[in-house]
């Protein structure tokens, strides 16, 4: 049991991404343990989102490799990486604006027979899956407090609601690991705590691994097992939340204290 929990879920080796003369991510090595909640922190523009984009196939790395569950996924397109069981959300919410909130979640479902050209005509072949998925989607919507809005156009949600929708879609995907890019930015503190306790619960119940980019450390640190701190495209420190808070390097560059 112990050994499984210690297993590395996601590993990057020397990931580097450049834009012209700009080195956005510089030889980053991280290990995300299975069933952990790993936090990635750092000031604006330090390369966190670029790192996530490079891991999830939006960008191809200039150097380095990404391993997910021991498999090399470097340079695979995003839809293939989703298929491997790794899903991410976006910092800037990217909802399917003209679909209902419920449909936004349903889109994320995996291997839906109704999405196949061959079977879509036969409603009976997929309606059961659809109903199950709808029930599941409503559970998540309730957790996120979005269930009242299930039949609204996604464009009607406010900024916080859109953030939650992003999380809902990721949860819907049955991924074994989810990367959340600033899940509680613009969300009120009570709901933010709520979201994080649900994340912990999901980790405990379903064994999902979470990697979370977040700025609001007052909330996020409390719930995380391990933290990586980035600055200027490099990992400057890593450790447990307590270690990170005490780390002089992190304090000086990130917290801006003297």
């Amino acid at each position: 049991m112990k050994s499984i929990e210690k297993e590395i879920h996601l590993k990057t080796i020397g990931i580097t991404k450049r834009f012209g003369g700009l080195v956005a991510v510089n030889h980053v090595n991280i290990n995300v343990m299975r069933k952990s909640i790993t936090l990635l922190i750092g000031p604006n523009g330090c390369g966190k989102t670029t790192l996530v984009n490079t891991i999830t196939g939006i960008y191809e790395p200039d150097e380095g490799e990404v391993y997910f569950e021991g498999k090399n996924i470097t340079g695979l397109p995003p839809d293939r990486i989703y298929r491997e069981g790794l899903v991410r959300t976006f910092q800037i919410p990217s909802p399917f604006t003209k679909l209902s909130v419920l449909d936004n979640l349903l889109v994320a479902a995996r291997d839906h027979p109704g999405e196949k050209f061959r079977t879509h005509l036969f409603r009976r072949s997929w309606i059961k899956t659809e109903e199950e998925l709808i029930n599941k989607a409503f559970e998540y919507l309730k957790i996120l407090g979005l269930d009242k809005y299930w039949d609204r156009e996604a464009s009607e949600l406010d900024a916080g609601g859109l953030k939650l929708l992003e999380i809902g879609r990721a949860l819907m995907s049955d991924a074994r690991m989810i990367i959340l890019d600033e899940p509680i930015a613009g969300v009120n503190p009570r709901l933010a705590h709520n979201i994080f306790s649900h994340i912990v619960e999901l980790r405990n119940k379903l064994g999902i691994t979470f990697m979370i980019i977040e700025h609001r450390l007052d909330i996020a640190l409390r719930y995380s097992d391990y933290v990586y701190a980035m600055n200027r495209g490099e990992i400057i420190s890593s450790g447990t939340p307590d270690e990170i808070i005490r780390d002089e390097k992190v304090r000086s560059v990130y917290l801006g204290e003297v």
Partner: protein, 237 residues
């Protein structure tokens, strides 16, 4: 002097700033601090005519800037250094500078003088002046972006997180340069920063913006003494 009174602005239906009032003086650095998503960039966008202003006023030396299109505001002597996409990547360094200078209606002599001033301030740019701007390193790129803002000798310089994502040596250097600019050039500097430590070191006046509202106004030392605001901004309990 830049005077903003009771500004309410945002983008379409998205209301970002609420009753923001702010004064920035000539030959001073006024810093606006605040957590991510507080509306700092929106404040700069509002001054520059890139956001929708619902109410309130923005005046530069007693001239109203609201409702002017950005290119007219620019011609009134306002320079805005964006956080990203702030250079012309396929032009050389000097082309970048000359282009902007020529468009601000400067004559040949002024351009040469202004260029010399900038090269004195940032000698590295002089070395790289024939290089295509897109190939500069992050720090050099940011210096060029600031120089683009400076070349036309603005009355008001808006800086949006100039040190974000830069290597340490560049951050310190850039901060030094901004201080130097304040001393040698006669202009209002409005600086948006998230690097509190550095910003507090050089600012004459500080505003803290949280969730679209100004929650603190004063000198850097006053801010350091008010621990709760520091905490709120820093986001660490």
């Amino acid at each position: 002097m830049l005077v903003i009174e009771k500004l309410n602005s945002g983008y379409g239906k998205l209301h970002v700033l609420y009753d923001v009032s702010l004064t920035a003086k000539r030959k001073e650095i006024t810093a606006v601090l605040g957590p991510n998503g507080a509306g700092k960039t929106t404040l700069l966008n509002s001054i520059f005519g890139l956001a929708d202003i619902y109410s309130g006023s923005i005046e530069l030396d007693d001239e109203r800037l609201n409702k002017m299109p950005p290119h007219m505001i620019s011609r009134r002597g306002v320079s805005y250094v964006f956080q990203l996409m702030n250079i012309f990547p396929n032009l050389t360094v000097e082309e970048n500078l000359r282009l902007v200078a020529r468009f601000s209606g400067m004559n040949h002599k002024d351009i040469e003088n202004s260029l010399k001033e900038i090269y004195d301030l940032f000698p590295i740019l002089k070395e790289r002046r024939r290089q295509v701007a897109g190939t500069l390193s992050g720090g050099e790129r940011q210096m060029l972006a600031i120089s683009i803002g400076l070349i036309k000798r603005p009355r008001l310089l808006l800086l949006d997180e100039p040190t974000a994502g830069l290597a340490v040596r560049y951050v310190d250097m850039l901060i030094e340069k901004i201080l130097e600019m304040k001393k040698t050039m006669d202009m209002i500097i409005l600086l948006v920063e998230q690097n509190v430590h550095k910003a507090l070191k050089i600012a004459d006046k500080v505003y803290v913006l949280v969730s679209g509202r100004i929650i603190f106004e004063g000198t850097p030392s006053e801010l350091v003494n008010k621990e709760d605001i520091a905490k709120m901004y820093l986001g660490v309990g």
